[in-house]
């Protein structure tokens, strides 16, 4: 299991290839489910030029680790990986990668989604968008289910 914050850009598929190479998860894995959240260039009809992702250092890592561990236990996952950007982002940048490895597809799909929803609800991140009209804090989350 690994949870990591990144201040620079990352390439999700390269991260996954490297993580699997290092983790040697074995042939008990039947399913791998992943999710990548990417910075869009539009929000509520307005072009978004850039974004700054503030976080609570220490608590962000701690909360992510706790929520990932909880879903790993609940869905009996073999392993899980979360990589999350912080700081300044550009449109098209990956913001978050969630990957889970499991025996069967049901646990994989549901575990991956549960981690994303818990992350959204609990991890101390705050988004500030830059638009042509200026900068604004994003005040609410979108619905996930």
């Amino acid at each position: 299991m690994r949870v990591e914050l990144r201040s620079g850009a990352f390439q999700p598929w390269a991260e996954l290839a490297e993580y699997e190479r290092a983790a040697q998860l074995g042939t008990g894995v039947g399913a791998t489910a992943t999710f990548v959240g990417t910075m869009r260039d539009y929000n509520e009809g307005e072009p978004v030029l850039g974004m700054y992702l503030e976080h609570y250092p220490g608590m962000a890592e701690r909360e992510l680790s706790a929520l990932v561990a909880a879903e790993v236990a609940r869905f009996q996952l073999i392993d899980a990986l979360v990589v999350h950007r912080v700081g300044a982002l550009a449109p098209g940048d990956p913001i978050v990668l969630v990957a889970v490895w499991s025996g069967h597809r049901r646990e994989g799909f549901e575990g991956c989604r549960a981690i994303m929803e818990a992350l959204k609800a609990r991890a101390p991140f705050w988004k500030r968008e830059r638009t042509v009209g200026g900068e604004r804090w994003v005040e609410k989350n979108t619905a996930g289910y």
């Binding site: 959240g37 503030e54 978050v96 609800a121 609990r122 991140f125 705050w126 994003v138 989350n141």
Partner: protein, 79 residues
């Protein structure tokens, strides 16, 4: 006792302050710490509270040396 106070995101901007060391009496809650740190401003109902990096509520007692954080609703999932 002394506690370390932190503010984040829009709350930090509105208060114009990202945190402070606060001196407060021996029996105090997170809500008391907020009042002391903000000079008596009322605590907005949607503000989240963490003590030592764990979510809690404003009625929770604090101890000497605690880190008490106040922040707006998190927005980590805008996809």
């Amino acid at each position: 006792m002394t506690v370390e106070v932190k503010f984040f995101a829009s709350l930090k901007e509105r208060l114009g302050c990202d945190g402070a060391k606060v001196e407060i009496g021996e029996v105090a809650t997170a809500a008391d710490v907020w009042l002391q740190a903000t000079g008596g401003k009322s605590l907005p109902s949607n503000v989240l509270v963490a003590i030592n990096m764990e979510y809690t509520d404003a009625a929770q007692a604090v101890k000497d040396g605690d880190e008490v954080a106040f922040f707006p609703p998190v927005t980590g999932g805008r996809w």
